[in-house]
């Protein structure tokens, strides 16, 4: 059996944690840590790009979408202008489609102005094997031709299986392969935190390796 | 050669021993042995000139007679032959079967009838009585050589275009008039082709509406039965209604008999138990003509069989090669196997429920069909002097039908995996056993 899928949360991804569910593992980022990390990432993105010119944010559903939106809000505060925001669903581009029960795709929203010739920053919650990002690059290829693609993630937990790296990282979180990294966000789970816990052998989360939600 | 059947319940009534000699029932003894049996006594010495069958717990019936069988030879020997059909018949307890005329070529001449008659004799397991077509080539227009068939060695008395209906009323009238000359009877497959055409395959009703299958309304049968009843009255000739399937047909037949009209009727085992609901899975094994009907019709048919409105059970044994059934339902061939399971179905449905006794079964599966077909050597009362055509039945045997073990060449068996109570254990044709212990001799 394939080991280690990091699960974000053992409950419905877009609903709050059910009351009384066991919160496993230890917290590595609390709500304030997350907020600081996102603020820093937002500044880094602007610094690297030297401003808003041609900048576009694409969140990878589901939690990457919320993070992308939060980053765009911070950028708007700093620059006083909106950065175009979109979402990029990767369900149909996964390389493990045949190994999973079929899932319906999420919404893909082209950012205003498109992606052709833009500096696209992909935003996701956890970077793990790199396969989600590879799928996102394939999906983007069918949307248009960006001038540059960069990657911003809240957590990089290592164990890359493909030659992919993040440009902007909220927290580097060394982890064992068999540990789970769970990200919860207010918009989908009711509150913010990032936890790490040992893999529960009784529970099979069946989640894509990078922690993209089931 | 003598044959002794010991301890059978004769037609479910009294227990007796039967002594059979030279193909005839020589003695019926209710106790204390036989007077006419000369020489060493029955079983213990194993005397070679006397075979003994221990029939303790078994019911003895006069050999069963099937008014309606399709033996497929000549023309479709891949589906069945006279020989394989005879084997199936013997296993089913039959000592005589009427072989329908829709062979290829059609049995519409004396020569064709004699050929089938001879094939039956050659097989030697069951008396095969050919049925002659009513119309030439089953075309429904011109009379077949009814008289020549009657005069042939096959002595055809029952005529039928079964598979097709003799639809043209003028042709039906002429045929009925013509057969009066030799006491013939027409067995009519009642299906008005304008009300139920060639694609009709499912009882017309809620299910056919839902499933989108072309409907076969009961009135397509009933209107022909009603018409033929009046023609029978008008011509003074005999009509036999093949495979009655609806309550409406039963009503007409009941009325006709009350009028003294010379009409008889048969019902198949499958129409006594299987209903149209079985078609929901589109399995062509349940495709048959006339189609399976709803519960109300099944109930009416059972009552009619019990009260004598329907005279006989006839199998309409219709073997089909596998590839003829492996089509979409609408395209698949019509028909089911029936010879080997008929007695068990009747036992399960009619005797098991108390609606009929074994004596009634003797009537509907032997005596009445023999009388209708004019087969003097069959359908007796198990009395002294009668030809020894006998079927032994174990009324309590539990049968689980396995289509793979059938003696028929075909496998279109709707009873596969069903549990039935009552089984044929032995069949005797003019004193010679054809089946013993449930297997061919």
């Amino acid at each position: 059996m394939v080991p280690t899928h990091s699960a974000s949360v053992p409950t419905a991804p877009d609903g709050p944690t059910s009351p009384g569910s066991v919160l496993e593992g230890r917290i590595v980022l609390d709500a304030r840590d997350i907020s600081r990390a996102l603020t820093r990432i937002s500044h880094e993105i602007l610094e690297r790009n030297k401003g808003l010119d041609k900048l576009v944010l694409l969140g990878i559903p589901t939690r990457g979408v919320h993070l992308a939106r939060r980053v765009s809000e911070r950028i708007a505060k700093v620059e006083g202008a909106q950065v175009p925001l979109g979402t990029l669903d990767i369900t149909m581009y996964r390389d493990d489609l045949r190994k999973q029960p079929t899932r319906g795709p999420h919404h893909t929203v082209m950012p205003p102005g498109g992606v052709d010739g833009k500096v696209v920053v992909l935003v996701d919650d956890v970077l793990f094997s790199g396969r989600t990002v590879r799928a996102a690059l394939d999906a983007m290829n069918d949307l248009g031709r960006p001038a540059t693609v960069r990657l911003a993630v809240l957590v990089d937990r290592g164990h890359r299986e493909l030659p992919i790296r993040a440009d902007h990282v909220g927290k580097n979180l060394p982890s064992a392969r068999n540990e789970r990294v769970m990200v919860r966000l207010e918009e989908s789970d009711g509150y913010d935190d990032v936890r790490i816990a040992p893999m529960d052998s009784l529970v099979n989360h069946g989640v894509y390796q990078d922690g993209a939600p089931a | 050669m003598s044959l002794v059947i010991k301890g059978a319940s004769l037609r479910g009534e009294k227990t007796a021993d039967l002594l059979i000699r030279d193909g005839v029932i020589a003695e019926v003894s209710t106790g204390g042995g036989f007077e006419t049996l000369v020489g060493a006594r029955s079983s213990t010495t194993g005397e070679s000139s006397t075979t003994e069958i221990d029939a303790d717990g078994l019911v003895a019936l006069p050999g069963l007679v099937d008014l309606h069988t399709h033996l497929r030879e000549p023309g479709r020997e891949d589906a069945e032959t006279v020989l394989t059909g005879s084997r199936a018949a013997a296993l089913g307890g039959f000592t005589a079967v009427l072989a329908m005329a829709n062979t290829s070529p059609v049995t519409d001449t004396g020569e064709a009838a004699e050929r089938i008659f001879d094939l039956g004799r050659l097989a030697g397991l069951v008396d095969v009585q050919p049925v002659g077509a009513v119309t030439r080539g089953l075309g429904g227009q011109e009379l077949a050589e009814l008289g020549l068939m009657a005069r042939s060695r096959a002595k055809v008395r029952v005529f039928s275009d079964d598979g097709r209906c003799v639809h043209d009323p003028r042709v039906m009238r002429r045929a009925l008039e013509y057969i009066r000359a030799f006491g013939g009877v027409i067995s009519q497959h009642s299906q008005d082709p304008d009300l139920a055409g060639p694609t009709a395959c499912c009882h017309e009703g809620e299910l056919s509406g839902r499933l989108g299958l072309p409907g076969w309304p009961g009135i397509a049968e009933e209107t022909i039965v009603a018409r033929d009843v009046m023609l029978a009255r008008h011509t003074g000739s005999r009509v036999h209604v093949a495979h009655v399937s609806t309550a409406g047909s039963v009503e007409v037949i009941r009325w006709a008999k009350a009028q003294g009209i010379d009409i008889t009727a048969e019902v198949t085992p499958h129409h006594l138990l299987l209903t149209t609901d079985l078609l929901a899975g589109y399995d062509p094994v349940y495709k048959v003509n006339p189609p399976l009907r709803p519960d109300e019709d099944v109930a009416a048919l059972r009552d009619a069989l019990a009260d004598g409105t329907i005279d006989a059970v006839a199998t309409d044994h219709a073997p089909h090669a596998r590839h003829d059934k492996e089509h979409a339902f609408v395209d698949a061939a019509f028909g089911m196997l029936g010879l080997e399971t008929a007695l068990s179905v009747v036992s399960e449905v009619m005797v098991g429920s108390g609606a009929m006794t074994w004596s009634d079964v003797a009537r509907v599966m032997s005596q009445s069909p023999a009388r209708i077909a004019g087969l003097d050597g069959h359908g007796g009362t198990l009395a002294v002097g009668q030809p020894a055509n006998i079927t032994l039945v174990d009324p309590d045997a539990m049968v689980v039908v396995d289509r793979a073990t059938s003696a028929s060449l075909s496998r279109n068996n709707p009873w596969h995996e069903r549990k039935l109570t009552g089984a044929v254990v032995a069949t005797v044709l003019r004193g010679a056993p054809t089946v013993l212990d449930g297997g061919l001799v």
């Binding site: 149909m92 045949r98 949307l143 | 009703g205 509406g209 839902r210």
Partner: protein, 311 residues
Amino acid sequence: MNKHLLSIDDLDVNDVSVLFDTAAEMHDVQRRSVKKLPALRGRTVVNLFFEDSTRTRSSFEIAGKWLSADVINVSAKGSSVSKGESLRDTVLTVAAMGVDGLVIRHGASGAAQQVSQWTEAVVINAGDGMHEHPTQALLDAYTLQRRMGTLEDKRVAIVGDLTHSRVFRSNILLLHKLGAHVTVVAPPTLMPAGVTAWSKDAGFETSYDLDEVLPDADAVMMLRVQRERMNGAYFPSAREYTVGYGLTRERLAVLKPDAPICHPGPMNRGLEIAADAADAAQSAVLDQVSAGVAIRMSVLYHLLAGEESGA
């Protein structure tokens, strides 16, 4: 989701919702310059059509190709009985080539179900005789839902030759599942056998009077009527049919102005539907066609992309 799509009854309400959501995404894909998704790469889909149907077949073909599947069209027209090869043999021959999905269109009711018992491939019913046409019903309901927001509690009228219509049979099941109130309208000769009992069981109403039903309808589905039915004595003449059951210009005026008009096509303009009605703003006919590809992409994706669900 069930392994096959043979009947609308293979789907529960949740399945329908998932299919519609995916179809909406597929609709967006249709508008991009790169219309392909790699989701069915490496899968082989055979369109096994025993009946002519350019429209449905090309719809499935495009759907499969836009998902990067390898799509093959096999035309098996001509009765298998007359060719001497049983239906089972025909299907097994095709399936033996290593097929993942079989899209079957056949002139006999029940054919898709029978075929599913003879092969390991996923079977999708593209229309079996008079029985069902599940993807048509799905695209009809999807189109109506997009136009009306919801089908719950909406009054839908289905008008035409119900007896011979697989579109009607699938739609009756699906619209009921989605909470719509359906009234079917036809002359008595074109109502299916046993419809009285069936309508009570399945919760729809029947009427011979189109003019009575039309003003209250939130949506109308006109079914194609074949002129050949006059030979079967189903109705006396085309003009009498139109006067009694056609969506004429006069009836168009009586219809609610935003009530969508559907037709599975091909249309007999002037017989069951006036040209004005076919081309009216309310007409959803072209939407139905584009929805058809999106729905079929959704169905193919959900039945073929993942591991065998074996539900």
